[in-house]
Symmetry: C2
Subunit: 326 residues, 2 copies
């Protein structure tokens, strides 16, 4: 693969002078402000997200975590703050953070136009909530932010030639199994039990003009921190929200498996090194409340709202796999 | 040194249940919200801060930067986003970010009660501003946030037994040289040309009951990115804001040296490896506007406002030098 088209990223200080970049960054500020306003209105407290730690989210679909030397111990840069969200709801029942995430994505992700190696999520968690509760919250959040941005950034969206629509609620919901059937009809075969690959997800996204949910992923496809259904341990109480028009994944989340013994068992089955999860397992042993939550990628939301072809136009300092940009 | 007293940090999920922790985190949310509201009112745009990059701030007073392997290249976790702020004002003249910072502080910093290895700053930069402009902004910002918190968190501050005062403007200003004279009178000798050590800074802070500025640090004490005075290249157009009552440093900032040749010369003198500053020097060669800005540590501001003995009580997931906490 040639990286020639990424030479511009290495000289980002030139692209930053463009009118479109300025416009997108102003819209992004409004997007983040409006999500904050919405969540504050829902009683959420914003907390400071962790940056590094002894352990981080392993459920990052083929990307590599970043290790650092922390006074002789191996720490990680956060790939997501999921484990810390479960800690935080001990203290505050509704929390969110603008969380920094680093994931060394495979080199081929530069072709997806929606993967960054450094990105931010609005990451939220609600104690004692079900996955259906936070899906409903996510729908209202997305409708709030699109409504507000349409109003506050009318001129900017026009200049972007972006005809942004406020989604209609409730959003369509497919189970993972139903999503695989739609894909099969599109001529794309995904083996039951695996993650939906990026290309298939994009194809699914392209045949929709409204955001939609995919729920109930198989236990084998996802991480130990999602709760299984009571009546079927092979599927999870989890979800992805997919943007329409080919923009792909928006939100990922679910209800949490918070029971010590069950988490250890799930880790064993998925082959996690249990000795690496020191504080997390100690915490579960001490007890945390059940909860549900999700993360929504800020750059992907910006890309969707602004109608951008490439994710790297949705962030001030873009980093994509294998490119040594600032 | 014994780390026994830091055992609690390793089991942070227990401390999070305390009423005081919940209270402090709620106040912290209000603090960050009020700073955001103030800066938005001043016309600032909030941007997404970088997390990693090929090069980061070297001016971190004896702390070590964190290196990572980024697709075969050596990248750093941001120690501060100063170099990126200079890039951003090409695009937007008034910007700020809640920026993540990691600095491996020397082990003895656990005694200062105000050093974390992972912290956040509200980091701002203003194109074409002087250092005096942003000092004035900093004073108004601190007065805004203390006024608002006194009003919105009256009950919480009372429970904290914190008698928070709104500072009187303008704040007292000492040059570095004057600060050294005050220290001399307190029986503390600091050699002219060096940074003011933490202990001396705390002593200076203890003999004040209002925040105060220290300006015009010697060029030898500070980093290449501060502008020298036109009439005296041995002192800088820079400043620290020091909290009263022993709380120590609040803000650090100044006017930027943005001229390519001058930056290269300063790097040579201070012994920086110029080859490591690829994109930054290329950017200066292409030209960036003059600017001034500062960073204010969110955890230190929280510690000051809440009147906390230890900085590690001012953050959800505290990390101090040498302690393997979550």
């Amino acid at each position: 693969m040639s990286y020639d088209k990424f030479e511009a990223l290495k000289r980002r200080y030139l692209a930053l002078r463009s009118v479109e970049t300025v416009r997108v960054l102003r819209i992004q500020d409004e997007i983040v402000s409006e999500i904050r306003a919405f969540l504050k209105g829902e009683g959420f407290v914003e907390i400071l997200a962790p940056i590094i730690g002894p352990v981080t989210d392993p459920g990052i679909r083929g990307a590599k975590q970043v290790s650092i030397d922390y006074y002789g111990a191996r720490f990680k840069v956060m790939s997501s703050m999921i484990l810390y969200k479960q800690m935080m709801i001990i203290s505050l029942p509704k929390i969110f953070a603008l969380s920094p995430n680093v994931r060394l994505e495979p080199l081929e992700t530069v072709k997806t136009r929606r993967h960054l190696t450094e990105f931010r999520q609005i990451d939220l968690e609600v104690a004692y909530a079900t996955y259906k509760d936070v899906m409903e919250l996510g729908e209202r959040m997305l409708c709030h932010v699109t409504t507000k941005i349409k109003r506050k950034c009318r001129r900017e969206l026009k200049e972007q030639k972006r005809d942004l629509k406020v989604p209609r609620r409730p959003f369509k919901k497919y189970t993972y199994k139903e999503a695989l059937e739609i894909l099969e009809n599109l001529g794309i075969h995904v083996k039951y039990g695996l993650e939906i690959p990026w290309g298939a997800e994009e194809a699914l996204s392209k045949v929709h003009n409204e955001p939609f949910w995919v729920t109930d992923f198989p236990t084998t496809a996802r991480c130990f921190y999602y709760m299984e259904h009571e009546d079927n341990s092979e599927i999870l109480k989890d979800f992805d929200l997919i943007y329409p028009e080919g923009f792909g994944e928006s939100i990922s989340g679910g209800e949490r498996e918070h029971r010590y013994a069950e988490v250890v068992e799930r880790m064993r089955i998925s082959g996690e090194d249990i000795s690496e999860y020191g504080w997390y397992l100690d915490m579960l042993k001490a007890g945390v409340p059940p909860s549900a939550g999700f993360g929504i990628g800020v750059e992907r939301l910006t890309r969707f709202i602004c109608g951008l072809e490439n994710i790297w136009d949705a962030v001030p300092f873009p980093k994509v796999a294998g490119v040594y940009s600032p």
